[in-house]
Structure formats: C-alpha cells, structure tokens
C-alpha cells in the first residue's frame, strides 16, 4: 500500500490544519505519527480514512482518492480517540458490524483479543470505562487486518499494564499480518521502540520523516566542558543547549560528527528530539507584584 500526499492543504474556517504537506508512506511498516496538539495529525488520519476532501493538493492511496470512496476506504481502518462506536451497541454488535465493513476481518482473532482485554460480549458501549472503550477500539483495529490500520491516540484511560499488552499484541499482529500501521501518540518514550519510521508534523507541515534507526546517527546529544562544547559546535545546528557548573549539554540536529575528543556522545531519544524541535520558548513570567 502507498499513501501519497502532494501539496495537501486542509483549511477549516479559521485555520489551516494541513499546510502544503507532501509525504509518502508505503510498505508494511509500523510508522509513528507525532506532533503537538493541533499539528494536523488527526486531520491527516481522517482524510486517509476518507472522512473529508482536501481544500487543495492531492491525497491518494494506491493512486486513488479515498474521500467518499468505499473501494479505497474498505482497506483502511481508523480508530480514533473517541466516537468510534454507537453508545447503544453491545460489544458483540460492534464486532459483528465491524466484520461487515472490513473485508479482512478475523472474528476468531477479535474474540481472542476481547478475552485478552476482559471485555464481555453483552456489555454496552455506554457502560464501558474510558480504558475499556479504548480497548474495544484496539480490538477492532487489530482484528480488521486492514492493509492500512491507523490508531489515533488509541489508549486514553488504558493503564500501563494494558498498554504494554497492546504493544505486545500490535507486534504479534504485525508479525502474522504485516501491513501499514500508523500510530499517533503522545506517549513517545513508551512506544518509540515499536516504530520503523517516524513522521513529525508541526503546524500542518512536515518537520521530519526518517527511519527510526537512523535517528540515532543523525541527531546526537553531546556533553562536556563548556568551552570545549562551544568550540566544537560553533557552526553546527543546535536545537537545544543547557549549561550548569561549567558543563554544557547540547543536542545537534542532522549533523554527523567525528573527532569528539573528550566530549561524551550519546543518542538523543525520540522524545527529546520531538520536544526540542517543536517546543515554544517560555520567556519567563514575572508576576506584576515583583515587576
């Protein structure tokens, strides 16, 4: 499967959610889609699922536009944070209906997942806790076996133990049915190890799209004596720096370095990269009584 956005723009009344985005995702991979709140992640995912058309530019899946086009969207399963299922349905109904929308649906697998998350067939969606509602979404997404399976923050309210089970199940599902899985999350530290590729959106634009394993080589964290660091990094692309007691730590973006001498070099974590790339500076608030 290949999804291709070309100069894709989506404008809502007051703002651009996606702004001239060009991005291609393909193959059978688990891809992390990251961005701050309002960066455009959910808009992109809902457009992939055919929920609404582009304002400008093109979005295609295997060269066909997904908007309002079931032959394309039948291959896509999008699980959102909420509003996935009608409140009055029972868990059983949700699974039966999902089976009709997803041609690859595996009911035995859905039942196995339902038991793993300890959901009862007869429970009504309305009575599910936030965590168990999220679990139902995860079950549908995994059992859909859709060639493009998209999870948008799929685990609101799910505790650490069930989240860890979700990661196990996701890897297992991917192993048995390799497909394009797009996972959007704010819990970056927890899931970054699952990604083969990472996409970061910022203000509706593409900020980064890389193989997860390459991140470690290209973006690094250096620390050491302040003068040595300053000398070394004089003309380099620094996205973060902080000093304390004559020691300095910097994060370099897209720089390959050698001859680091006594400086200590380590990999910047995905979470660190994400924060330093997208964070707004805090200028320091001074209460008026102190001004």
């Amino acid at each position: 499967m290949e999804m291709k956005a070309t100069n894709l723009t989506k404008r809502y009344a007051h703002k651009k959610a996606l702004d001239d985005l060009t991005l291609t995702l393909n193959g059978e991979k688990i891809i992390g889609l990251l961005g701050k709140n309002g960066a455009g992640k959910t808009t992109l995912m809902r457009m992939l699922a055919g929920h609404f058309p582009a304002t400008d530019g093109r979005l295609t899946i295997n060269d066909k536009a997904p908007f309002d086009h079931f032959p394309v969207t039948k291959d896509i399963c999008l699980i959102m944070e909420s509003h996935n299922f009608h409140e009055k349905f029972k868990v059983k109904d949700v699974l039966n209906i999902s089976a009709k929308f997803h041609p690859n649906w595996d009911m035995d697998y859905a039942k196995y997942l339902r038991k793993s998350f300890r959901l009862e067939e007869k429970q009504k969606v309305k009575t599910l806790s936030k965590g168990m509602y999220s679990a139902l979404g995860i079950i549908v997404g995994l059992a859909s076996l859709s060639p493009i399976t998209i999870f948008d923050e799929p685990y609101i309210g799910l505790d650490a133990s069930f989240r860890s089970m979700f990661y196990d199940l996701l890897l297992e599902s991917y192993q048995h049915n390799p497909r394009l899985i797009i996972l959007s999350t704010h819990l970056i530290d927890e899931v970054s190890k699952l990604f083969e590729e990472v996409v970061i959106l910022h203000d509706g634009k593409l900020m980064l799209h890389e193989k997860a394993d390459d991140l470690a080589d290209k973006h690094i964290l250096l620390s050491g004596n302040k003068e040595e660091i300053d000398q070394f990094a004089a003309s380099k692309n620094i996205i973060h720096e902080s000093s304390m007691l004559g020691q300095k730590t910097i994060v370099l973006y897209d720089e390959e370095v050698s001859d680091t001498g006594d400086l200590s070099v380590s990999k910047a974590s995905l979470q660190e990269l994400f924060v330093y790339l997208t964070k707004e500076e805090v200028n320091g608030y001074v209460p008026s009584s102190e001004a």
């Binding site: 991979k29 688990i30 860890s164 990661y167 196990d168 890897l171 297992e172 991917y174 192993q175 190890k193 699952l194 990604f195 083969e196 997860a212 394993d213 470690a216 080589d217 964290l221 006594d262 380590s266 990999k267 974590s269």
Partner: protein, 130 residues
Amino acid sequence: MTERLKEDQPIFQQIAELIETNIIENELKANDRIPSTNEFAKHYQINPATAAKGINLLVDQHIIFKKRGVGMFVTEEAKQIVLKKRKDQFYDQYVKPMLQEAERIELKEEQLSTWIKEAFQNGNESNKLN
C-alpha cells in the same frame, strides 16, 4: 538474553552487542541458532526491523550467517572476531575513562598498578577454584 535496553544507545547496536557478549561467554557456540528477529522483537518490545538491523551488522562482520528458511547461526570464527573487536575497543572504552577519573581524583600511577596486579592475582585464584 534478558538484559534491559539502555536509552542512550541505538537499540540495533545493543542487540548486536548482546549477541556478541553471549558468543564470547560461550552461551552461544559455533553453529548455534540465534533467536529470530521476531523473537527479539517480542522479548524487547521493539520493531522487528530494528532487531534485523542489529543482526545484519553481525552478518556483515561474519559473526552470524543466514540459512535461508532455517534461521541465523553463529559462524565458526565468530568468537575470534568478537574477541579481537572487543580487545581493539578495550583501551578507549575502559582504560581511557579509568585514567581520566584517576587523574581527576589525583590517584597515583603506582596505586593503580598495584590494584590491577592484585585484582589479576585474586581473579586468577578465583578462576582456579571454578
């Protein structure tokens, strides 16, 4: 192979080093099958492609070889290759930081040499007991 992964090093590198350590400790011997990428992925909750990248580093260095459709195995010369590599890295990885710290805390060279000699003697004795 149950060591936990560290945050500050690339995961594929840690997977490669883990296998190497098992080889020099004789946990994995020549022609032994190593776990598959999916087994690594499951155990460490990592992407299978990351595990594959780590293993491929070792394939490139003739430490591991692939048998199509069967699995991945330790080569005859694996242990020698890993030992040589680790010895080449030893000075930079262990001796240099030790000397830096020694200088920082004003430890004398004689003191260090004495400790190393003693440690070797003690180590040899405990090896004999084994």
